[in-house]
Amino acid sequence: MKTHPMKLVTVICETLAREHLTRLLAAVGAHGYTLFPVEGDGSQGQRPGDIAEFGNIQLEVVVQPAIAEQLLARLHGEFFPRFAMIAYTSDIQVLRPDKF
């Protein structure tokens, strides 16, 4: 099977940033995303996750490298100063490059 390189961008952030984030994804042109609630600990303290509003979500999005670049830039500029969060990219291989 021929696979194609793609970028996976993972964002872990406070739940209350969710709507901003999904709007950002639409803005940079991502075609879909996956998310789920997580617990966490970081520089801004523990997030036990018994109340969604005070907890974290993890959001994963598969995108073209160029879009990943753009996404990271805007996360850095607009989100990092405002929200408790981390973000990272990794290299993945997909079968249907046109889907992303």
């Binding site: 940033a17 709507e19 018994d50 109340i51 509003e53 607009e78 405002r82």
Partner: protein, 328 residues
């Protein structure tokens, strides 16, 4: 302290609901592994909101809208007005940045449904009647202060791109259709449409277990509030004092206004409780959405770790004593 007040405070502190709240605080302080699943928290919220909404709606259908509209309007106006004086106090006396002052002000103008429910619980316990349709005041008081607070804060903050830009529309959407408003107003209308007959059908669910469910919920809220206690030192002495004095002041104003609007002793007391309470779910969510520059430690700690426990334990009997004093 007058003996009456002492007695009321003691009665409140020895109710199952408040004792479970204290147990929750202890659980968090001793770092017990007790934890409520998120789904349980949401379920309890949905239950409590629909139950008081529904019962309130039935009460409206009995009393008639003609009786309700005036105090409801007064409640709405009071909620919108509170940020107008708390903002300058925080901004100039407290020296807080504009967005932070606006955010905190929004929280104190908005309301805490759980505090309201605990107050109705207290009134039931001391056999003091009250207007059941007071839930309508709760429903109309959640959003106005949030909108006012955001408008105050927006003048100071600056959204740099379109993700942040169109937030006014979203804030108004939230104010009208946010989870708690939707459930409360929806259940109110359903209750009003169904009337007494609807209540008879569903009271095994909306009435019978209500007080016990509240106790369970306060167990969780005790843990949630206590987890924030560590942040008390971060917020400074001014906000600590504000978190106790603002509710006392607003409680007085609320009781007086409720009395003026023609409510009974119990109703005026609930009016005071609403004014005194501070939102810790709806308002923080709105602030993160619309004023993400504001520091959440400030508003969460004051609303959740200071004002909420104060109201649940001491505030409620105090507002009751106030209402009694006013009435006599």
């Amino acid at each position: 302290m007058p003996p009456d007040l002492l007695h009321a405070i003691q009665a409140n502190l020895l109710s199952p609901a408040v004792l479970f709240f204290v147990l929750g605080v202890i659980a968090a302080l001793v770092k017990s592994d007790l934890k409520f699943p998120e789904a349980l928290y949401v379920t309890l919220t949905i239950y409590l909101l629909t139950a008081i909404g529904f019962k309130g709606g039935v009460a409206i259908s009995e009393a008639g809208l003609g009786t309700v509209w005036l105090p409801a309007l007064a409640a709405l106006a009071l909620g919108a007005a509170i940020p107008l004086w708390t903002y300058p106090v925080l901004r100039f006396a407290g020296k807080f940045p504009a967005v932070d002052a606006a955010a905190v002000a929004a929280h104190y103008g908005s309301v805490s449904a759980v505090t309201f429910i605990a107050a109705t619980n207290f009134l039931n316990q001391v056999n003091e009647p009250f207007e059941n349709y007071a839930t309508a005041f709760l429903a109309v008081m959640e959003s106005p202060a949030i909108v006012v607070g955001i408008l105050l804060g927006k003048r100071a903050a600056s959204g740099s791109s379109s993700i942040w830009g169109d937030s006014t529309r979203r804030v108004l959407h939230e104010a009208a259709f946010g989870r708690s408003v939707l459930l409360l107003v929806g259940a109110l209308i359903i209750g009003a449409l169904c009337g007494k007959r609807g209540l008879t059908m569903t009271e095994g669910f909306f009435v019978t277990p209500f007080q016990g469910v509240l106790a369970l919920f306060l167990l969780e809220m005790g843990m949630v509030a206590a987890r924030r206690l560590g942040d008390l030192k971060k917020v400074g002495i001014f906000l600590l004092a504000f978190g106790v004095l603002a509710p006392l002041l607003h409680g007085c104003i609320g009781v007086a206004l409720g009395h003026w609007a023609g409510l009974s002793l119990g109703g005026a007391m609930l009016f005071g409780v609403l004014a005194a309470s501070a939102s810790y779910i709806a308002a923080p969510a709105a602030m993160r959405l619309s004023l993400p520059e504001a520091n959440p430690t400030l508003y969460l700690t004051s609303a959740l770790a200071i004002t909420f426990p104060f109201n649940i334990t001491v505030g409620i009997p105090v507002y009751f004593a106030l209402a009694r004093w006013w009435n006599s």
